[in-house]
């Protein structure tokens, strides 16, 4: 029963691989050190890197715990592979899901205000809708829809202001841009997709983009 065999990958498992106390306390010290670092770092604002720093330090700590406390360093490589596979599949899960959620238009980015009025999603919230309401007061019987181009963009009149390019806002970017990608939430993404695939579609389809068809 030897306790002097640490430091090389273990062979016979019925010989417990016993680490010296120092190794455990050193590990603990390292963990405490990184805890202090991560707490300290939280008082400094690194902007978008905040999350990255926190995750990196946490991963360092987790690696130390796994390697020493959980004995992975001295264990069958199989067990490291098993743990690694958990990380891999978790990464696949989070990465693919976020691939969607990050490239998908979300109501908030469109309406600019939350909570959205779920009972009437098209009322009030969207900048496009506001612009539309300004042009054509809702339900106003006085509006006579006789002028050409009253359904902007459909019937000729390319220069006519489109529904989304409201009078007040053709210059402002944020609400309008999102409003014109608008409503099609996800089209922005498809723009880039298709651009990369077929090269035929503009990257950011908007009301002013030339008609494709």
């Amino acid at each position: 029963m030897s306790s002097h065999d640490h430091g090389h990958a273990i062979g016979g498992d019925h010989v417990p691989h016993v680490l010296p106390y120092a190794a455990y306390f050193a590990t603990w010290g390292a963990l405490m050190f990184f805890t202090i670092i991560t707490v300290g770092a939280s008082y400094v604002n690194f902007g978008p890197a905040n999350l990255l720093i926190a995750v990196v330090i946490a991963t360092l700590k987790a690696t130390i715990v796994a390697a020493i406390f959980m004995h992975l360093w001295f264990d069958h490589r199989m067990h490291s592979m098993i743990l690694g596979s958990a990380g891999l599949f978790l990464a696949i899960f989070i990465a693919f899901t976020m691939f969607d959620t990050e490239s998908r238009g979300h109501l908030e980015s469109i309406t600019g205000e939350r909570p959205a009025d779920m009972s009437n999603p098209f009322l009030g919230g969207s900048a496009r809708q506001k612009a539309m309401n300004a042009l054509y007061p809702v339900g106003s019987n006085s509006v006579k829809l006789s002028a050409p181009g009253i359904v902007p963009g459909v019937f000729d009149v390319p220069a006519a202001p489109s529904a989304s390019a409201a009078p007040e806002a053709s210059a402002t970017v944020s609400p309008e841009a999102s409003a014109s990608a608008s409503a099609s939430a996800s089209v922005a993404a498809s723009g880039s997709t298709s651009a990369s695939v077929s090269g035929s579609v503009s990257a950011a389809p908007s009301a002013s983009a030339p008609p494709k068809h």
Binding site: L31, T35, A66, I94
Partner: protein, 220 residues
Amino acid sequence: MSASANDEKLSPDFHVAHHFDTADQQFDSARMGIWLFLVTEILFFGGLFCAFFIYRSWYFSSFVEAHHHLDKVMGAVNTCVLIFSSLTMALAVRSAQVNDKAKTVGFLIVTILCAFGFLVVKYFEYQHKIHDGLLPGVHFTAQGFSSPHPGTFFAVYFMMTGIHGLHVIIGIGLILWILLRAQRGDFSARYYAPVEGVGLYWHLVDLVWIYLFPLLYLVG
């Protein structure tokens, strides 16, 4: 490695289960089983981490605002408590490996105490949140938030820490079980797989918290 030296250290109750050929095989199987189980635990928590990252990205200002309502100090204290308990758990396994029954029992007791300490701190944290109306979804009643959907942060917070807390409670039960068996003298240098298995589980609970603490308390 003489067989007789090993046999002396075998605890009286220990026998290789009927379907295994050797103690090695049994020990290896148990550990592989535990590691596979830890994989499922990681993926189980993984769903919540996924939700955290997504909603943080969507409701960034809300997450930043909401995380200031968590008590950094309490979180840090709990982190230290849990890391310390991880140390004592590792030492308990070490003691079992070297046939030191008294120390095994002692370290396990410290580990359990730390676990209870963790839960006590958590209790006070929860109490504050509930008192302040910082609850998930429809139950969120706190006033004065400038960003929409702070309830989402607390949904993630309560689900994550709640499930983690549940794991701590289960861990206490498991350690208690190991403690009683250690007291009874079930373990030896040749047979300590249950101690190591529970130890691995406990380290995983610590490992999850190592991520939860900075994500929820520090960067929000």
